[in-house]
Symmetry: C2
Subunit: 387 residues, 2 copies
């Protein structure tokens, strides 16, 4: 199918209060108190505990005069059962504000817990768009990777362990009240996550920029994210220079502000079922799919390519087919230089699962804003090329 969808002319733009800066993790407590909390439910993970960041957060919360319950029964690609356990614990302990500290997993788990404590039921009841009825408890999210964007986004992604799929929940309710980034936390991020989370930010920015729901309000953030990633990804991966890591944290924030409002596209519509089936790393899946999806999208987004080429660091004005080549070349070179995985096979995806994955992607909410209307055959073809 080849027709392009019509671009939307109306726009809505909503972002939480944003706080960004080195050393600002010590404001967690005052943020939670400012939102009216007395007893904090802190969701984080064991890696951050070992790195000392959880202690920093606990100290800040207690110094703000609040009580705190610490919860870390979560795993990468957070599971429905973990979220349900967290919600029970929140209620049992009488908490009244949630803080999520970590990567996408800790933050999405915090969102899932927030959904259940005020809306009840099971997390799969809220799959899709705007299924949440009651307002969530106050929520502060503190990202510690360079990619997820969950700290500003209207998305929560939770794994359904029974059906082995990702549940994509989209609602303005799940955006937090405050997004607080302290780029110092990237110092202890394991090497492999610098690349995989930054390529997640990269795919957020590119899909947001191509989305049919993109507007000038989201485009400026998407392009800024691309400029920061293209300037700092390779250096951050190879040298771990604090300035480059901070740029990636900032890129993640800009990309999050873009995609939360313009939504995403085929990369994420495919990445969700793959992540659900294999429990594979989300950023790695995106890095593999992105070049193929961009190639597929390009014929219907030609007028946006010159700005995209500029965003990717190409400093001479280009147009038409030249812009298309520049975009694909720069992207390929960058992913190679950063050591990103380049095939689905290398991620453990089985070839016989591809048709099922293509089918499942059609049900993901992210496909709705793809600039090019893909059918099952198109999606399968993208998967095969990325295999």
């Amino acid at each position: 199918m080849d027709q392009s969808k019509t671009t939307l002319h109306h726009c809505k733009f909503e972002v939480p209060e944003i706080i960004f800066g080195r050393g600002l993790l010590n404001q967690i407590g005052s943020c939670a108190r400012r939102l009216g909390g007395h007893k904090v439910f802190l969701v984080s993970d064991q890696g951050l505990f070992s790195a000392g960041w959880v202690d920093r957060a606990l100290k800040s919360i207690m110094e703000a005069g609040l009580e705190v319950i610490y919860f870390d029964h979560i795993t990468p690609n957070p599971k429905d059962v973990e979220v349900e356990e967290g919600a029970l614990e929140y209620i049992r302990q009488g908490c009244d504000v949630i803080v999520g500290l970590g990567g996408g997993s800790a933050m999405d788990a915090a969102k899932g817990i927030a959904i259940l404590v005020s809306n009840g039921g099971r997390i799969r009841d809220y799959v899709g768009s705007d299924r949440i009825i009651r307002p969530l408890p106050p929520l502060v999210l503190c990202p510690t990777t360079c990619g997820t964007g969950s700290d500003v986004s209207q998305f929560a992604i939770i794994n359904d362990t029974e059906r082995r799929c990702k549940l994509t929940i989209m609602s303005r309710c799940v955006a937090p009240d405050i997004s607080l980034t302290d780029p110092d936390t990237l110092e202890t991020l394991p090497d492999e996550y610098v690349c995989t989370t930054a390529t997640d930010a990269l795919s957020h920015a590119m899909e947001a920029f191509f989305s049919v729901a993109s507007t000038s309000l989201t485009d400026v953030h998407a392009i800024k994210a691309l400029r920061l990633v293209s300037a700092s990804l390779v250096n951050a991966v190879r040298e771990r220079t604090p300035g480059d890591l901070e740029n990636l944290a900032r890129a993640s924030l800009h990309a999050g502000m873009a995609f939360s409002n313009s939504l995403l596209g085929i990369v994420h519509a495919l990445a969700h079922p793959i992540g659900g089936l294999y429990d594979a790393n989300h950023g790695s899946i995106n890095a593999v799919l992105l070049p193929e999806v961009i190639k597929y999208d390009i014929p219907v987004v030609t007028e946006k390519l010159p700005e995209l080429a500029w965003g990717l660091g190409h400093r001479t004005e280009v147009g038409g087919s030249e812009a298309s080549e520049v975009v694909q070349e720069v992207l390929d070179t960058m992913l190679d230089a950063a050591g990103a995985p380049r095939s689905l096979k290398s991620l453990g995806v089985k070839r016989q699962d591809l048709p099922d994955l293509a089918r499942r992607a059609l049900d993901d909410v992210c496909i709705v804003t793809s600039p090019r209307q893909a059918d099952e055959r198109d999606l399968l073809s993208i998967l095969e090329k990325a295999y």
Copy 2:
């Protein structure tokens, strides 16, 4: 004094929910209802009433099942006495949500009324930064010019009629809950206001970009605003093409998102006392001051000039003194082509008042974020050059 101030490394970014699009004025009612309102206090002016937009707003509010009280006892550069009258009327009528529809005057009056109904006292009690204690009633602001940015900003500017000065009130509380722009309303904007309000947006964007509190989050919006103004100002003034007018409305929004978070500088610090003393048009004052202030700022913001030149539509990469020349030239050419006033004298400012105006500007909150620390003599020199 020549030293540059240090740029801030921490950033905070907060914007209201934003809705933008042609024909969306009919969502005023549902916005007010969504914020929990039952009886709307609608603040607008007689020009918008004659143009039919007030009727559209009233219809939307009534169709949403809400009651409404209409208030239009306001004048350009809204006065303390008007705001106090509005607050009394709001309380007498038992309203519970405020909608401001108009230019900066109607929206700032709506903000002033909101401050008084929940905090009491007189409007001058809230001058300066963060003096408001109690939360305001829900607030929806709908701009109908291409410049003020009041619909997203944390500022309210009210004239003190006794002391003949502008009161600058800055607080995160005065940003509305929802900013709703329907660019169709620009169709009936009188000719002279296209230029004067767009030059207000232009000065917001440039001052926000140079501000010591600017960050990547505000810079992307400042630059986008400049791109839109430089692409559409002259055409919008001369031809009133709907596309160019919409671009200016969008520029105003982007510039507002930038300056509300990065704050402003000397142009506004000087424009406020001038507007207070002469009741002159705010955008015209800015248009006159802007080139002189930019010239004054340039030595301490050299590293930002290449991006600024690009934002102003210059498509070849330039650096150093060349960028400085390009910026000044493009700005001068654009203001001339748009027919903006070019001297304080032409606005009715008296030469003997200049020393007093320079002194008053030192007390304005906008001076705090100027990239170059100006003393009274510097400010007087700028005023004399702009005379």
